[in-house]
């Protein structure tokens, strides 16, 4: 693996973000707006509630972690879409660049862009609404790791779909987070779900994060075992996503899809 070639993929995204106000702003504007919207929502809910429940760490914390997961996924997919939109596949894939280097470049890009979003969310949620991430203790580390790894897996899997089905299929990708959100219990405990939905939740790593977060907010002891399951599942999904991308790329090379990508068909 050549770090120089990985860096080339990252540098391309840096140049694009540096040269475009629209790309720069999207790094933090939507997540910032989410923090403000949900921050005031939770403050309002705190005034309605008779109990001493504090909705800030429960709901605003959940939104923050959820937005982080979505940004990680989009960090990978948008970097890949830049090559789709600029019809750059021939230039990129007729070079010594290896698939592992290309994917690593996308992952590093996502890490950088999602960290910008995370920092902005933390600043807003802490300074305006008093959310303290220290209240989650050291479990915050596996929280972030699970969400980052699963976001990367989702992103790579999504790019494989677009590589296989063509540029128009990017519209399948944008709603992916919304499709999985009911199963992972961002805003509610999994116990409210019907049995079959809970079955799906068990194979989705973020559900372990949000369940654990609620447990900590409720003052219960954290269950490290469930976080380990979440980490193992996330690692498995990353491997599965990379395998899927590699297989899809192999198909695209065999069938001529790469060379005729804009046609969205090989026949």
């Amino acid at each position: 693996m050549s770090l120089t070639r990985c860096f080339a993929i990252v540098l391309r995204q840096y140049y694009l973000i540096r040269g475009s106000f629209a790309r720069f702003v999207q790094l933090f504007v939507w997540v910032g707006l989410d923090m403000i919207l949900w921050g005031f929502m939770t403050k309002y809910m705190n005034t309605l509630s008779d109990s001493k429940t504090n909705f800030v760490p429960m709901l605003l914390g959940a939104v923050l972690l959820w937005d982080f997961l979505v940004r990680v996924m989009q960090g990978v997919t948008i970097a890949f879409f830049e090559d789709v939109w600029s019809r750059n596949f021939l230039n990129i894939f007729a070079t010594p660049l290896k698939i592992s280097e290309y994917l690593s470049g996308l992952v590093i890009t996502s890490l950088a862009s999602s960290c910008v979003g995370l920092v902005v969310m933390l600043i807003l949620s802490t300074s305006i609404f008093g959310l303290s991430f220290f209240s989650y203790g050291l479990t915050l580390i596996p929280f972030i790791m699970i969400l980052f790894m699963f976001g990367i897996a989702l992103g790579i899997f999504a790019t494989a779909i677009v590589l296989r089905l063509g540029p128009a299929s990017e519209w399948f990708i944008w709603p992916v987070p919304a499709l999985i959100s009911p199963f992972i219990g961002v805003f509610y405990p999994l116990t409210v779900l019907p049995e079959w939905m809970r079955g799906v939740s068990k194979i989705l790593p973020p559900s372990y994060v949000f369940e654990e977060m609620r447990r900590i907010v409720a003052g219960e002891a954290s269950n490290n075992q469930s976080l380990v399951v979440g980490l193992i599942l996330s690692a498995f999904y990353i491997l599965l996503a990379c395998w899927t991308f590699k297989k899809t790329y192999g198909y695209a090379i065999r069938s001529g899809l790469i060379a005729r990508y804009s046609a969205e068909s090989v026949s």
Partner: protein, 248 residues
């Protein structure tokens, strides 16, 4: 005997029942410019895509110098580069940014100096910080050619590189590519529909028709060998009546 920079052996590609390329073998030697000619749909771009690793052959193999493209793809492609009229560089990056990114991908040594040299050589200085998307098609072609020269490839693949250039610029580009090949370290595989250009530039031509190599030879003497007054007439004959040439 000069060493080969490209060896194509028994290359075939089928798409379902359609055989786009059938058992094609040829080579390009160091210092040589080989023209790959043929009518639309003859299999030129399919062959080029296989040479560039963008398309996996059904049968046969491609070697860049001694590196097998399937077994050692990254090493083989590190010694190759290309420019094609249908593969412009991203229009949302500047000339310098595009060259910088590809210099990293090809791991070019002394990249900054190499980029500046190429910007000078292809007269791109005043467009250095312009986005490629705002350049004229001729200027974009020059940027693509600069990109193609970045790693001083052993094999340079050019798919109709002068198609969008005015005659004066096209002549300059032909001269530059001739100079590049004349160093004796690299070979060039060139496709064009401009027979004047092919005759001027190429040391050898291969005529493809319906996925097969029909004729091969020196572009200056080949037309006479087949009773045609010019390379253009020979091209027309290949396109319209390939069977009549097979037995000549």
């Amino acid at each position: 005997m000069k060493s080969k920079v490209l060896s194509v052996e028994f290359l075939s590609k089928s798409f379902g029942n359609i055989e786009a390329v059938k058992n094609v073998s040829f080579s390009v030697e160091k210092g040589e410019i080989v023209g790959l000619l043929g009518p639309n749909g003859a299999g030129k771009t399919t062959t080029i895509n296989m040479v560039l690793g963008l398309l996996e052959p059904t049968l046969g193999n491609v070697k860049i110098e001694e590196s097998d493209l399937v077994k050692n793809r990254s090493l083989a492609l590190a010694k190759t580069n290309f420019a094609a009229v249908y593969a412009p560089l991203p229009g949302n990056l500047t000339v310098f940014q595009n060259l910088r990114i590809f210099s990293l991908i090809y791991e070019v040594k002394n990249a900054s100096q190499r980029i500046e040299d190429l910007i000078m050589q292809f007269e791109l200085s005043r467009f250095r910080d312009s986005k490629c998307g705002v350049l004229s098609s001729g200027e974009q072609t020059r940027v693509c050619l600069a990109k193609a020269m970045l790693n001083q490839p052993k094999l340079l693949v050019l798919d109709e590189p002068t198609a969008s250039l005015d005659p004066s610029t096209a002549k300059e580009i032909r001269t530059k590519i001739r100079e590049f090949a004349s160093t004796g370290e690299s070979g060039v595989l060139w496709t064009s529909h401009n027979m004047y250009e092919v005759e001027d530039v190429c040391d050898r031509v291969l005529f493809l028709s319906k996925g097969k190599i029909l004729l091969e030879g020196n572009p200056k003497t080949l037309p006479a060998e087949y009773g045609k007054p010019s390379l253009e007439e020979l091209f027309i004959a290949v396109a319209r009546e390939p069977v009549s040439l097979q037995g000549v």
